[in-house]
Each structure stands twice: as structure tokens, then as C-alpha cells.
Amino acid sequence: MKLKKPVLITLLIVSVLAYAQDKNLINKDHYHKVIVKDLINPWGFTFLPDGSMLINEKDGRLIHFKDNKKVEILNPPEIYLRGQGGLLDIELHPEYKTNGWIYFSYASSKGEGDGGNTAIMRAKIKDNSLTEKEVLYKATPNTTKGQHFGSRIVFKEGYLFFTIGERGNRDLNPQDLTRDGGKIYRLHDDGRIPKDNPFVNTKNAKTAIWSYGHRNPQGMKINPFTNAIWTHEHGPRGGDEINIVKKAANFGWPVVTFGINYSGTSITDKTDKEGMEQPVHYWDPSIAPSGMAFISSDKYGDWKGSVLVGSLKFQYLDLCTLKDEKVVKEARLLDGLGRVRSVEQGPDGYIYVGIENLGIIKLIRGKNEN
């Protein structure tokens, strides 16, 4: 374990220089109101038709927030609480009003072997309890690794899309279509595999796969202006990315990346390769992105059309101004409030942000006159 002096000095210099904050400027033209107090890690949340909220706490509690009160919904998904795993995203079926389906992503230890992997469940709420639970997907194999579960859920044109991270096994999972992890998946809303999924005729492939070569996507939304699926993902050091998801596309991890290992050593010298997609944007230094929302309402003036991305690492909400599907400017909102985990545009057009160790806040543009 003893290090030679030059190595030690190099390490010290690297450690002092490498992790400075990024250079995005602090925006002061906004303030916030705390809507839901006292949450530990609001990993995902969504709005019910009556305006109340369903909130996933990572530790496994499902909370219904209505009339300023928190009520725990009983019988939530059984989770594998370890490292980055727990109760993750929540999303309503587009026709929730008529069918009542609620979708969850979570870490589960179901199946063979120690450990866990990401699962997708749908269920309904009846008498304050989850019922009619159906597991629609469970990634394999289980592993005791603590990292890279993903996971976000969106609906598009009646299909269910979700992300699963590469579970800390970058050399085996992301580029192998016969293995789970490091993928974006597409299913029918009841879990069936769509016949036109890209790899249904590929030998031994996991046929739910829609795109591959991902690392750990913890943000996914439909861009309401283009109807494309946008994701972002945690890259290695200096390699967090925004991507526009395409059918059958290979996003390159770990063959191509803008990042390096946490230790400072190289993963690959390639940042592009034929047949592999280029990101819309990459962050260096990494911001550790989680949660994502497009501003499509008229509540924020010329911020309309921008995309918001939470930064866990530097604890702010990144306002990314877009032009021709590129990030042309970034600004720091909600600077230093805490680790930004989840971002949603509410039915009232306002942006709501889930912040660890704080709660869910409402973002308001302008000066706070109160």
C-alpha cells in the first residue's frame, strides 16, 4: 500500500485540481416555495388528476401528498435497498383516469442469486393500498453491486419506455444484447414485447431492448417540441451526457466516451466511432445528472423550450438553453439547496423539483416580493 513519493505528489495535485466546481453562472432571477417538506430522497414523483402528488422515497415508502398532508400508501413494491437501488421512478399511464394504472421502477432481489437488479411494476391504488401488482420486467442477473440501476419511465404513443443502468459491469453488459443493463427498453403497457422492437429476431437477445450502450440513465423525458425521447446519463469522470434516443442505436459505452475513470486513468481514447451515436451534450466536469424536464408552459418567459437537469454532485438545477437540439448555454438555478434528484413540470405549468434532505419545491421566475 505504500506509495512512492512522485506518485503521492501527483495524486495530491490531481486531487486538488480535478474536482473544482463547474463554471456555470448562478442565475438570480428566480426563487422557490417549499411545497412538500421533510423528504429524504424523493427519487420520483408524479401528479394525480386531482392535483395531488404521489412521491417515491428511495427507502421504499410511497407517499400520497394531498391537502398539505402526507399519507403513506400501503403495500408498495418490495425493494432491494442497497447503494443506489431502492424505490425509483413513478409514472401514470397516459389513460390513468380510465384505467388507474401506475408504473414503478425499483431495485428488486426477486429471482435467482444474491443481490438485485432493476424491475418494472404496474399496480393500482385502492383503499390507500397498492393492488393488482404486476411485475412487467425484471432484469437479470442479480448482483450485489451498489451502482447503476437507472431508472426512469416514460410513455410514448402508448408504449412504455424505461432505462436500466449497467449495474457496475461495463465490460459485459452495455454492448451485449443478450444481457440486461445499460439499455433503454420498450414494452406494451401490459408488459408484452412489441413485435416491431429492433432486436426481436436477434438470436438470444433481450427482445425488450430499444437502444443500448448506455451507462446509467437517471433522466428521461419526451421533448414536447419534437416528440423525441431525450435521456441523460451518468458517465464516467467528465463524461455525463444528454442523448436523443433512437431505435436500435448504440450509444457507445464503454467503447466511446468523453470521460475517464474516476481514478484519472483512461477508459478509451475514442470519443466517436462509426455506428455509435454522439451525445447532444456532455458535461466535463461531470455534474451527476438526475431528473429532467422540458419547460413547455408559459410560466417562465423565454426559458420556454429549455431543458432542466438536476445536478446531484454540485447541488443545483441546470437550466440548459437549447438551439437546434444543442445546449448553447447553461445557468445554475436553486444553487446549493441540495442534491437535485427529480424534476417535473406540473399540470399547472410550474416546475417542481425533488431535492434530497429537503422536499419538493416549486420554481418561480422573478424576484421574491414577499
Binding site: N41, G83, Y262, F314
Partner: protein, 137 residues
């Protein structure tokens, strides 16, 4: 014969030198090795590759007065998580570390790794039994 004797002694001494460090505590070394795997999977995202943390956000583990002076609290944080203000090397950190779901063995291993990495030196072996007795702070 004299040369042979001398050679033997030299060889003996060299062997002694080479192995003394490791032989001193094979159990600790094995724990550090396993602890490294836990660190790479659970800790590195925030506390970074060399335990330096992130300025004003996540406290350092390398050369940390908090770790040295509050080992029990550090083990407790690794086991149960940590919330609220702590002061590390004169800087206040007010954040949250959610429980990682580690076993007592894994907590012991990763603490042994942290205690003996990047220039940190604390060769007292932390055992799973010791971890099992630690209560939430």
C-alpha cells in the same frame, strides 16, 4: 562456507523485510482488499477516487480529522447513513448520506480500506463484530 553462511543470512533478512509488512496482519490486508471493492461500488461517486470528496459538498476521507477523531461515528454513518451538520478539517458540511445497505462485514472492510488508503494509516483491524455493536447516532 563463510560466504554461504553470509548469503543465507542476507537471503533470510531480505525475506524477512519483504514479508514483514504483510505478515503483520494478513487479516487486515484481506479486509482492505475487499473494502476496495465496496468503495468502488458504493462510495466513489461522492467521496471520489482518492477520498478527496467534493469541495463544500461531500467531505474528504483522506487526511480527515473527523474520521480520525470520530471513528465510531464514521462507522455508524457507513452503516446507518448520516444527516445534518458535521465539521471536517474546519469546514462545515450539511448534507445527507442515505443508508447504503451494507452488511457488517462490508462496513468493516470499507472502513479498513479507508483507514489505510491514500496516505491514511490506522492499522487497527475493524471487525464485523465491532460494527454489529454500533448503534445509530
Amino acid at each position: 562456507m563463510k560466504i554461504n553462511h553470509l548469503t543465507l543470512i542476507v537471503i533470510f533478512l531480505c525475506l524477512g523485510c519483504n514479508t514483514s509488512d504483510k505478515k503483520a496482519n494478513p487479516e487486515l490486508n484481506a479486509s482492505i482488499k475487499s473494502g476496495n471493492e465496496v468503495y468502488q461500488s458504493f462510495c466513489i461517486n461522492c467521496h471520489m477516487a482518492n477520498g478527496e470528496g467534493i469541495e463544500n459538498v461531500y467531505p474528504p476521507l483522506v487526511n480527515s480529522d473527523y474520521l480520525k477523531e470520530n471513528l465510531e461515528a464514521s462507522i455508524s454513518a457507513t452503516k446507518y447513513g448520516l444527516k445534518g451538520k458535521i465539521t471536517v478539517n474546519g469546514k462545515v458540511y450539511n448534507n445527507i448520506m442515505t443508508p447504503m445497505g451494507l452488511s457488517d462485514q462490508e462496513v468493516a472492510n470499507v472502513i479498513n480500506y479507508i483507514n489505510n488508503s491514500w496516505g491514511n494509516k490506522n492499522t487497527r483491524l475493524i471487525t464485523p463484530e465491532e460494527v454489529s455493536k454500533i448503534q445509530p447516532k
